[in-house]
């Protein structure tokens, strides 16, 4: 086996994991599988692409690469703003759609269907604005450095891995060590009871959208930096995201990232041993296996 599989799998897995955190939080706190979550990844990447082009045009030198990476500080700034914009987009979709169903106390599956419609609309809107031609943050080529053990990675890839680790630790601390995190866990247990005990449920829901969308944007920017930016990039990640969230156990942030890494490694293995064209089938195989063997997931509680 080529040890490069490990690096390829970890990189794909960290993008899936970051996306899956948002999905799993919405799933456990708002209690529905959000089919529009993939679009937050794509919209985040496009926001960052437009902003970084804008920053580059206004301030010369913002696009100049910071050695050894292929991107300049302009993209870093653009990503931070894009995370905010993606969060606003998620809040807007919630305000015009999901919140209304919530207030009506609609059955969950109607909300799932609405998220399905929203994903279609958001994705096609991207295609309308940017066309389906792929976009790139940078045209710089990078040479993969040897890491030992027969593995290689570009500086950008290592940056993505490091940033993922940082974001995951941040979210984990936020959820386990702060009052906001405690409120989130309380709402996930029982929304009406936690509301009775003085938890601001609306604020918790806003936090979930902001956090999930910002992480999705980060995943989108990484995917755009390492692969390319397409309107369908989020939709194509949706099945791996669901597989990761269910594999890790719905509601579990460490589960989502571990699940993401497993799905990513599985995809890398499939590329090496079965053929790249079957890559997209791995998430489905993992999903079926986990539903057969342990439907609550690795870190999930008994439902």
């Amino acid at each position: 086996m080529n040890p490069q599989v490990v690096i390829d799998g970890l990189i794909a897995g960290s993008m899936i994991g970051l996306g899956a955190i948002g999905l799993t939080l919405v799933y456990s706190i708002l209690r529905f599988p959000n089919f529009a979550h993939g679009e937050m990844i794509a919209w985040g990447a496009y926001f960052a692409m437009s902003l970084s082009a804008l920053i580059g045009a206004v301030i010369g030198g913002a696009g100049a690469p910071i050695a050894p990476f292929s991107f300049g500080w302009g993209l870093v700034l653009a990503t931070i703003i894009a995370m905010g914009l993606t969060a606003l987009l998620a809040l807007a979709v919630d305000a015009v759609l999901f919140r209304i169903f919530r207030k009506r106390q609609s059955v969950m599956i109607i909300i799932v269907m609405a998220s399905f419609g929203a994903s279609m609309a958001l994705r096609s809107l991207l295609e309308f604005i940017y066309t389906s031609r792929p976009g790139y943050f940078t045209r710089e080529l990078q040479i993969a450095m040897p890491l030992g053990g027969g593995m290689r990675a570009t500086p950008d890839q290592l940056f993505a891995l490091g940033l993922t680790a940082l974001l995951v630790v941040f979210v984990h601390l936020l959820l386990t060590r702060t009052p906001t995190g405690r409120a989130m866990r309380a709402v996930s247990e029982n929304p009406s009871l936690s509301g009775l005990f003085g938890v601001d449920v609306d604020k918790v829901i806003r936090t979930v959208w902001i956090l999930g969308a910002a992480l999705a944007c980060a995943a989108g920017v990484m995917s755009g930096l390492l692969v390319q930016i397409r309107p369908y990039m989020g939709f194509d990640l949706l099945l791996p995201l669901f597989a990761a969230a269910i594999l890790g156990g719905i509601g579990s942030v460490p589960g989502a990232i571990v699940g993401g890494l497993i799905v990513g490694l599985g995809e890398a293995l499939a590329v090496q041993f079965v053929g790249a064209q079957w890559r997209a089938g791995v998430a489905f195989a993992i999903l079926v296996a986990i539903l057969l063997v342990r439907p609550t997931g690795l870190f999930g509680r008994q439902a």
């Binding site: 089919f35 279609m120 295609e127 489905f284």
Partner: protein
Amino acid sequence: MSPEFLAYGAFFLTMALTYAIICLGLNVQWGQTGLFNVGIAAFVAIGAYASAILTTPDAAGRIGGFGLPIAVGWVGGAALSALLAFLVGWLTIRLRADYLAITTFGVSVSVQLVALNLVGLTGGPFGITFIPRPFGDLAGNALAFGLANLALVAAVVLVTYLILERLVRSPWGRVLRAIREDEIAAQALGKSPKWLRIQAFTLGGAIMGLAGAIQAHFIGFIAPENYLPMITFQVWAMLIVGGSGNNRGAILGAILVWALWALSGQLIEATFPAGSQARAASLRLVLIGVALCAILLVRPQGILREVRTLSRHALGRKQPEVSS
């Protein structure tokens, strides 16, 4: 009216009616039973491919090509799609309703992948051509061919509709709706929700597979790009517009949405230059997505609302009408 126009009308209506069959299948799953299927494209594709492989003449480099009659293809397509629906249902329905949605989504991705990559069986990206068409010997006369096919598909819609109406009013249909409305109450009366749901999901899958087979034979060729997730969106829009839970609504919605779809397609072709047509087409998808959400928000019952059905024995006793 010119014969060309009539022939086009027949073609249009036949396509719309094949969607009406898919929609009737979805109505069994969603309208009657409340099962959310995000993989309609997969079940339609399975039916189409199975039937195409059974009925096409022998082709070099591809397994299959059995050259069987079209009717055998229809039955085979429906049966294979039913089998897939049964397996998916068995895997997920015992768990949670939302897992069914996620799994059917995965099925649609995987079926698309198989259609694209299992070249030896499906013909890969180029698909399968020379699928025998019903009334193929009439093909010289566009009008006669179109009308004959329209009559055939209309007959299938009618038969499916009558069977489903009968089922809706049968004890089986009433138990399904009882489970949809209050699972625990139905369980307390000794009904097995899991098993009945799997039955309904399988029946719906069979109908979708049949529709896929009919569509494949009507058009004469199939390719993976015919079965993108867009089909799933279209059929959902049809059922929600027409009125879920109502079989007549399912047929009406299919014809209406297909008409809007075809007309907007013509409008785009006529008004936009060739370069920006792909762009305009994506705007059309935005509208479908927004329309789906808007109907769910504003008029979730659709144009024709669900008809309240009671057992004829209960009706005979003149029970007090309960508002639904």
